[in-house]
């Protein structure tokens, strides 16, 4: 029998008045796994996360953290990096590390090597990338068994982003479970397994290919891509951009050609598999329509 997951959410529903924020969601994170929780704003990711960590009660269902009820005691054994980072901007790097170490009863913790040069700088004066590095180091100080990261590389430059992911994968290789919430393709590609939420429900699970499923997009090849983008947007189609290629998700190719032709734009269109971001866009639109 395989060991119990580090984090387990079982059939959780959360209502705020009439509003169903989370609708019958189950998920788990095992040791050594990097699991990505995806979804557009308002999909319910943060609410599920808060319930999983015991910071918010579920209306129905149950959640388990390290095989226990998610209370303050068990939360000491996990690491959490919120999007706001949770650092003290008016304290130095060294003071932040010392404070976090003290809270977790780990005195004598050292400033991480890569931040040694700025140990006495106020955190508020560091670049965002360095602040993220510090927040991540602080969350790992007490050797947690599970780490929860909210958009860990948002706003970080390309080089620092690959370095942060290296650290995340090293921890996972050492057996730590990692749950990452994100809506960026580049972060999703770093995960072993993905879960996709929309409108409070879990609507997909597995690899990038499994999440996208048979959703397709129409790719438009045209020099005047900006004009095509405008015309297709004005027609109310779910237009996305990937570099300078204009794409329309989940719409028949003939519809796209028709709108372009009417505007006097002649383009080649081809049907290609959708990206995760397009899948999210399609689901978010469907959700908005359902609410309207």
């Amino acid at each position: 029998m395989s060991p119990r997951p580090l984090l387990e959410v079982v059939s959780v529903t959360k209502r705020f008045g009439d509003f169903v924020a989370v609708d019958d969601v189950s998920l788990s994170v095992g040791a050594g796994e990097v699991v990505g929780l995806l979804g557009a704003n308002g999909a319910g990711k943060t609410t599920v996360l808060r319930i999983a960590l015991g910071l918010l009660g579920a209306t129905e269902g149950q959640s388990w953290l390290l095989d226990r009820y998610p209370d303050r005691e068990v939360r000491r054994r996990i690491g959490y990096v919120p999007q706001s980072l949770g650092l003290y901007a008016d304290m130095s790097v060294r003071e932040n590390v010392a404070f976090v170490a003290e809270v977790y009863g780990r005195r004598g913790a050292q400033v991480p090597e890569q931040l040694a040069g700025v140990a006495d700088e106020l955190v508020g004066r560091l670049s965002l990338g360095m602040q993220r590095e510090l927040a991540f180091s602080c969350a790992l100080l007490h050797a947690p068994e599970l780490v929860v990261l909210d958009e860990p590389t948002s706003g970080v430059g390309a080089l620092a982003r690959t370095a942060l992911w290296d650290t995340i994968h090293e921890r996972a290789d050492a057996g730590v479970g990692v749950l990452v919430t994100t809506h960026y393709m580049q972060e999703a590609e770093q995960c072993d397994r993905l879960l996709l939420m929309a409108g409070g429900r879990l609507v997909g699970a597995g690899s990038v290919e499994q999440i996208v499923g048979d959703t397709t997009a129409v790719e438009v090849s045209i020099d005047r891509w900006a004009a095509a983008f405008d015309v297709l947007s004005a027609a109310g189609l779910p237009v996305t951009l990937s570099g300078t290629s204009v794409r329309v998700a989940d719409v028949p190719a003939d519809d796209v050609s028709g709108v372009l032709a009417e505007a006097g734009l002649h383009a080649e269109v081809s049907v290609v598999p959708a990206t995760i971001e397009e899948r999210m866009t399609v689901l978010a639109r469907a959700d908005q329509d359902a609410q309207a």
Partner: protein, 277 residues
């Protein structure tokens, strides 16, 4: 609206002992989106603040229209959290001295383009992060500026709102404005007319994204692990590695670099002391 080019010559900005801009020169043209990318402490935000006159140069010069002709979205805020969308619009429109009917018309156009029309009565702090960023861009666009300066408009914004943000910037450029925006996302930089890659206060490379990629002619390999970590970086489950001083091992497949690879590679070349890259 008639656009106006923005020209920066040998700009130096110092904060105490730290040099944030180190002799930076660049230009941005009307009718185009110029994307500024770069890693940590590259100088992106300092450049944006210098363009709008919030940071003084130690030396060098900036040719740009006066502040009231510039629209600016700062990296941190962009709207007043305790005001509604409509109140934000009225406040900013008023501060630019826009006539009531002009403001009403402009607000209608930009809020519709951002998909914020039906949230006029919502407090800014009750908007999602993406909607709040879009509101910030709308406010920067209200007075129909000739130059639009956006500092990381899309950071933390979900893909649905990111498309709207691009639409707002692209429309301003199409109408003749000079649009300059920072981003950490290479797929956004790829669709700009011009990309400027910064590192430690200097320009590593600039030009149309295709040309920036084409000009990079170092061999690049892909493998399951980094052979020399100082020259390698992770892409998904594999590693890219560059070989500036020795031929790559023949057993490793070579791959074509994309903009993300080029930005990382140029930064590494400079960090590892290979000249100006």
């Amino acid at each position: 609206m008639t656009g106006q080019p923005v020209v920066v010559r040998d700009a130096v900005v110092r904060f105490g002992r730290r040099v944030a801009l180190d002799g930076l020169s660049m230009s941005a043209q009307p009718g185009r989106v110029t994307a500024v990318v770069g890693g940590d402490a590259a100088g992106k935000t300092t450049l944006m603040r210098a363009l709008v006159g919030q940071v003084a140069l130690s030396s060098g010069s900036i040719e740009a229209p006066p502040p009231h002709e510039i629209g600016y979205l700062p990296a941190s805020t962009g709207s007043w959290r305790d005001l509604t969308v409509q109140e934000n619009v009225d406040f900013v429109g008023g501060s630019y001295g826009l006539a009531r009917d002009v403001l009403a018309e402009r607000a209608g156009v930009v809020l519709a383009a951002a998909g914020l029309e039906r949230y006029r009565d919502r407090l800014s702090r009750q908007l999602s992060g993406g909607m709040r960023r879009k509101l910030g861009v709308c406010l920067a666009l209200l007075h129909d500026p000739t130059v639009l300066v956006l500092d990381e408009p899309s950071t933390g914004v979900d893909p649905v709102s990111r498309v709207d943000l691009w639409r707002l910037a692209a429309r301003a450029a199409a109408a003749g404005a000079t649009v300059i925006m920072t981003t950490t996302y290479m797929d956004e930089a790829e669709r700009a007319s011009q990309v400027l890659v910064l590192d430690r206060g200097r320009v590593l490379v600039d030009g149309p994204p295709d040309a920036v990629v084409a000009a990079f002619d170092e061999p690049l390999t892909q493998g399951p692990r980094a052979i020399r970590p100082e020259w390698a970086w992770r892409r998904g489950g594999t590693f890219r590695e560059m070989w500036p001083s020795e031929p790559p091992p023949s057993e490793l497949p070579t791959v074509a670099a994309d903009l993300e690879d080029v930005v990382i590679a140029r930064t590494l070349l400079r960090a590892n002391g290979r000249g100006d890259a």
